[in-house]
C-alpha cells in the first residue's frame, strides 16, 4: 500500500453499484477465459480448437448435453446446501461429508426393501438422503451451539470420519458386496433406481429433483419465516437473539436444511448414476459445491447456472482431450481460475485506485 502511495495512487472503497459489479465480474470472467486459453496453449493445443471441443463435448448433441446435466445434478444440490448455510453466515464446509451421510442413510433405509415397488423405495431413498445429510450436519450444529466448536473445524473433521466409516462398512462390514474385490456395495435393486428421463441418455429424475429443490429454496429464502431467520442470522444474529429468537435453534435449522440438500446429492449419484454405494460415486461434490455456490452468488438460480457450467466443463473435458490432446485434468485448474477471477472481479468492484496529489 505504501509503495502504491509513493507512486501517487491510493486504494479507496467504491460504491458497489449493480452496474459496476456487472462490468467487473464480466471482465473478470473474460480474463478467466484468457488465462485458460494460455493454459491450453501451454498444453500444446490451439486454444480456439480446445474451447470449440470443450463446447461441443458439453453441448454438441442431446447426448452430451444430457451428460452435462447429469454432472451438474449433484453440484446443484451441494451448491444449494452451501448457499443456504453461507447466507446465514454459517460456514458449513461439510457438504462433502453430508453427501456421504445422505447416500449411506438412504442405503441403510432402502437395502432391506429389495423387491418392493419404486412407489415405496423412491420415497424412502429421498427421505433417507434428506435425513442422513441433515442429521450429520446437525451434529456439527450441536457441537457449535453446545460446546462452541467452530463449524469450519467440525465439519471438515466430520468429512474425514464419514469417508472412513463408509470404507469400513464396505471393506469388511455388512455392506460389502459378497465375494467382490472392490470396495463397493452390491448392485442396487432395480426398484430403487431413479428413473431415467429419456432413452439413450443417463439423465435421471434426480436432475428434476435438483431443479425443484432450487425452486423450493428460492421460495423458502425469500417468502417464509424460515428464510427470514436465515437471512437475519446472516445479517445480525445478535439482533435476532435480542428479539427472542434462539440462535441455537436457527443454527441447527440452517445446518440441517443445508445438510439435507447435500444428502440428496449422494442419493442422486448412488441411485441415479452409479447404482452402487461406493466412495468414488460421492467424492468431490461437496467441495466443488462451495465454488458453485460462490459463483452462483449464493442465489438458488445462480447456483443452478453455475452448476451447469461446471457440469459442462467436466463433460466437455473428455472430448477435448480426445480431440486436442489437452489433458482433461486441466479442467480442475480452469475451475479454480474461474473462482479466483470471479473473486478478484467482485473485490475490484468494491475498490478503486485513486490518484493522490503529493503534498510536500
Amino acid at each position: 500500500m505504501r509503495m502504491l502511495e509513493h507512486l501517487g495512487w491510493r486504494v479507496v472503497r467504491a460504491d458497489a453499484s449493480p452496474a459496476r459489479t456487472a462490468v467487473w465480474v464480466s471482465a473478470s470472467l473474460l480474463l478467466a477465459v484468457l488465462l485458460s486459453a494460455l493454459l491450453f496453449e501451454a498444453a500444446g493445443a490451439s486454444p480456439a480448437a480446445a474451447f470449440a471441443a470443450l463446447l461441443k463435448g458439453a453441448f454438441g448433441s442431446w447426448r452430451t448435453a444430457s451428460e452435462t446435466l447429469v454432472a451438474a445434478t449433484p453440484l446443484i444440490f451441494t451448491g444449494l446446501a452451501t448457499a443456504v448455510a453461507f447466507r446465514a453466515r454459517i460456514w458449513n464446509i461439510g457438504a462433502e461429508g453430508q453427501v456421504f451421510a445422505g447416500a449411506m442413510f438412504a442405503y441403510w433405509c432402502q437395502h432391506g426393501l429389495a423387491g418392493f415397488s419404486p412407489a415405496i423405495q423412491l420415497p424412502v431413498i429421498v427421505l433417507g438422503g434428506l435425513a442422513g445429510g441433515g442429521l450429520y450436519a446437525g451434529l456439527a450444529a450441536i457441537l457449535k451451539t453446545r460446546f462452541n466448536v467452530d463449524e469450519v473445524i467440525s465439519t471438515v473433521m466430520l468429512n474425514y470420519i464419514i469417508v472412513y466409516a463408509l470404507s469400513l462398512l464396505l471393506l469388511q462390514g455388512p455392506w460389502s458386496e459378497p465375494g467382490a474385490f472392490f470396495e463397493q456395495s452390491a448392485k442396487m435393486d432395480p426398484g430403487s433406481l431413479l428413473p431415467l428421463l429419456s432413452g439413450g441418455s443417463r439423465l435421471h429424475a434426480g436432475f428434476l429433483l435438483a431443479v425443484a429443490a432450487a425452486a423450493v429454496v428460492q421460495v423458502i429464502m425469500t417468502r417464509t419465516p424460515v428464510g427470514y431467520e436465515i437471512r437475519a442470522a446472516g445479517s445480525n444474529l445478535r439482533a435476532l437473539k435480542v428479539q427472542g429468537t434462539s440462535p441455537a435453534r436457527v443454527i441447527l435449522m440452517v445446518m440441517m436444511i443445508s445438510g439435507a440438500l447435500a444428502g440428496l446429492a449422494g442419493v442422486a449419484q448412488v441411485y441415479g448414476v452409479h447404482y452402487r454405494l461406493k466412495a468414488g460415486a460421492l467424492t468431490g461434490y461437496g467441495y466443488t459445491g462451495i465454488i458453485v455456490a460462490i459463483l452462483g452468488q449464493l442465489k438458488p438460480w445462480g447456483v443452478v447456472a453455475a452448476a451447469i457450467v461446471f457440469g459442462a466443463l467436466v463433460t466437455g473435458a473428455t472430448f477435448m482431450q480426445v480431440k486436442t490432446g489437452v489433458p482433461s485434468a486441466l479442467i480442475y485448474a480452469v475451475e479454480a481460475i474461474l473462482l479466483l477471477c470471479y473473486l478478484a472481479g467482485w473485490a475490484a468492484a468494491r475498490f478503486r485506485l485513486k490518484r493522490v496529489a503529493h503534498a510536500g
Binding site: 502511495e5 491510493r10 472503497r13 467504491a14 460504491d15 421460495v219 417468502r223 417464509t224 419465516p225 427470514y228 431467520e229 437471512r231 437475519a232 446472516g234 445479517s235 445480525n236 445478535r238 439482533a239 435476532l240 437473539k241 435480542v242 428479539q243 427472542g244 429468537t245 434462539s246 493522490v356 503534498a359 510536500g360
Partner: protein, 505 residues
C-alpha cells in the same frame, strides 16, 4: 484568549475537504486554533466533527486542503506523522493495556531502539504530573484505575509524546459530573502551559466554557465564534439550522400501585455479579429514570427484565403476573417494548429492509403470515404506517436499513418497540447519537406513551434528559442501586455523588 492577529496559530486548517463516496463529510473547512486556546467543535452527529479530527490526527487523509502546526505545513499520512508534529488525541474509548502499569502504558511504544530507559521516563513523567497537579501512582495497574484516571493517563501519554495540540473526543461521555469538573481543571492547567485543545462535544454547558467555538453543520463550517459573545440558544440554532423547543415533561400523577415490580433481581457472570439484588417498582404512567455512568449494570438490568438474560435470583412481575422465567419473545408478547443501547449491534439487521426489521422476532406471528408464507402486503403496509407515523426519512419500506442515518435507524427501532409496548417500555439511551431534531421527537413520543398509561424505564447518561422526563430517578453504580431521587428534588451534585459510588443517606 482568541487567536490574535500576527501570532502564529498552533493549528491552522485551510480549505480542508474530505469525501466518503457520495458524502462530502468535510467541505472547504478553514479554522485556526491559538496556543493555550480551548477550541470547541460543535455539531450534530454526521456534521463532520469526527472526520475533521480524524484528518488532523492523520487517521484519514483529506482530499484537499492544508494542515499547519506552528506555521509548518504537514503531510499527514498516519497518526505517527501527527504525533511527530506535536498533535495528540484522546479517543472516547481508551487505548490502554489494562495489565500494564501507568508508567508502562505511557512509555509503551515510545522508545527508540530496543532499550527502554524506565528510570529516565519515570523522572520526566513525574515532573509532568507535578506541573499539572495530577496525583497518579505510576506503578498502579491501569485496570485498577477509575475511568477519570484512565483519561488522565491518556492525556499524560500524549504530552509525554510531545503534544502541543490535544484533541479530546467527547471526553465527558464516560465521566461523572465530578470527574468532568476535574477534567476541566486539568484542561485549565494544560492551557496554562501553552497547550492548545480541541474539544469535541455536543454538551452545551461544556461548550460555554471554551474560548472559541466552531459550529459544523452537514460538513460545512457554519461559524467560528468567540464563546463569550454568543449564547446557548444562538449556538443550538446554528448547529441545527432552526430553533429548537425544549420539552418539559408535564408531570401527571402516576396511578397508584406498581405495574412493574422487581425484587432481589440478581444476574451472575463467571466473574462476580452483573446486577446485584435490585428492587424497583414502576407505576403505570410513570417514567423511572436510571442515571449512572455507562457499564454499571444498566444494560444488564434492562436485558434481564426484557427476558434476554435469565436471572440467577429474584422476581419480575408485570401487572401481577410473574415473568422472570420467560424468554424475550414471550416477554414482548406481554406488552413490553425494549430499545437497546447499541442500535446497530442489537436492534437492526443492516441487510434487511425497513419493513423486515419492523417485524424482527415476530416472523412467526399470524399477523405477518399467510399460511406458511410471510404476508408481504401486511409487512409493507406496516412499514408505510411506521414511516408516516415516525417521520422516517427514507425512500420507502423496501429501503435497506443499513443506509439509514443514526436517527432514522433509531426511529425504526422505536416504531417496532413502541408498537409492542402496551404496558412497559424499556429505553436504553434512546437519544444517543441522534440529532437534535429527532431527540425532540423521541422525547415527545415517550411522553405520549406515558400518557397512555405505559410504565417507562429510561436509562440515560444525559442528566438533562433524565431531569426533563423522569418522575423519579434511581442511580446505579457497580451493578447496584445507590439511591433514589424524586421529581422536585433533582440535583446534579447529589446525583453525581451517587454516580461515583456514594450511598444515599
Amino acid at each position: 484568549m482568541s487567536a490574535t492577529q500576527g501570532e502564529t496559530p498552533r493549528l491552522e486548517v485551510r480549505g480542508l475537504s474530505k469525501r466518503y463516496g457520495p458524502v462530502l463529510a468535510n467541505d472547504d473547512i478553514s479554522l485556526a486554533v491559538a496556543p493555550a486556546e480551548l477550541h470547541c467543535l460543535l455539531g450534530e452527529n454526521g456534521a463532520g466533527k469526527s472526520t475533521l479530527s480524524a484528518c488532523i490526527y492523520g487517521l484519514a487523509v483529506s482530499d484537499m486542503g492544508e494542515i499547519l502546526v506552528d506555521g509548518q505545513r504537514l503531510d499527514l499520512r498516519s497518526p505517527a506523522d501527527a504525533i511527530a508534529a506535536g498533535i495528540g488525541m484522546v479517543h472516547q474509548h481508551f487505548v490502554l493495556v489494562p495489565r500494564f502499569t501507568v508508567l508502562e502504558n505511557i512509555v509503551v511504544g515510545t522508545g527508540s531502539g530496543l532499550r527502554l530507559d524506565l528510570a529516565a521516563a519515570r523522572g520526566r513523567i513525574t515532573d509532568l504530573c507535578a506541573r499539572l497537579h495530577l496525583d497518579i501512582d505510576l506503578d498502579r495497574r491501569v485496570d485498577s484505575l477509575s475511568v477519570g484516571e484512565m483519561q488522565w493517563v491518556e492525556i499524560v501519554k500524549s504530552l509525554y509524546l510531545g503534544a502541543r495540540l490535544l484533541i479530546l473526543d467527547e471526553p465527558t461521555a464516560v465521566l461523572t459530573p465530578q470527574e468532568s469538573e476535574r477534567l476541566f481543571a486539568l484542561i485549565a492547567e494544560l492551557k496554562g502551559s501553552g497547550i492548545a485543545i480541541i474539544l469535541i462535544t455536543h454538551k452545551m454547558n461544556e461548550v460555554m466554557r471554551s474560548d472559541r467555538v466552531s459550529v459544523l453543520r452537514k460538513g460545512r463550517l457554519v461559524a467560528t465564534l468567540t464563546t463569550a459573545d454568543t449564547t446557548r440558544d444562538a449556538l443550538t440554532e446554528l448547529m441545527v439550522g432552526r430553533s429548537v423547543a425544549t420539552i418539559e415533561a408535564r408531570h401527571i400523577a402516576a396511578s397508584q400501585g406498581a405495574s412493574l415490580s422487581v425484587r432481589g433481581l440478581t444476574l451472575s457472570a463467571p466473574r462476580g455479579s452483573l446486577i446485584q439484588a435490585i428492587d424497583l417498582d414502576v407505576a403505570p404512567g410513570e417514567i423511572l429514570g436510571i442515571a449512572g455512568v455507562a457499564g454499571n449494570g444498566q444494560d444488564e438490568l434492562l436485558e434481564t427484565i426484557a427476558g434476554i438474560r435469565a436471572p440467577r435470583a429474584g422476581t419480575i412481575t408485570l401487572r401481577g403476573e410473574p415473568m422472570s422465567s420467560l424468554g424475550a419473545a414471550e416477554v414482548a408478547g406481554r406488552g413490553v417494548g425494549h430499545v437497546p443501547s447499541d442500535r446497530f449491534r442489537d436492534g437492526l439487521a443492516r441487510d434487511f429492509t425497513i419493513a423486515e426489521n419492523l417485524i424482527l422476532g415476530q416472523q412467526w406471528l399470524r399477523r405477518w403470515r399467510k399460511g406458511p408464507l410471510l404476508d408481504r402486503a401486511a409487512m409493507a403496509a406496516n412499514g408505510q404506517d411506521a414511516i408516516a407515523r415516525y417521520a422516517i426519512a427514507t425512500t420507502g419500506p423496501e429501503q435497506p436499513s443499513g443506509r439509514l442515518s443514526g436517527g432514522n435507524a433509531q426511529k425504526v427501532i422505536i416504531a417496532r418497540e413502541f408498537a409492542k409496548a402496551q404496558h412497559l417500555l424499556l429505553l436504553n439511551q434512546p437519544t444517543r447519537g441522534v440529532d437534535v431534531g429527532a431527540i425532540e421527537f423521541i422525547h415527545a413520543e415517550v411522553l405520549a406513551k406515558r400518557d397512555q398509561g405505559c410504565a417507562v424505564i429510561l436509562v440515560s447518561e444525559e442528566l438533562d434528559d433524565l431531569f426533563a422526563l423522569s418522575d423519579r430517578i434511581i442511580v446505579m453504580f457497580r451493578n447496584e442501586v445507590m439511591g433514589e431521587v424524586r421529581r422536585g428534588a433533582f440535583d446534579k451534585t447529589a446525583i453525581g455523588r451517587l454516580m461515583a459510588g456514594a450511598r444515599a443517606a
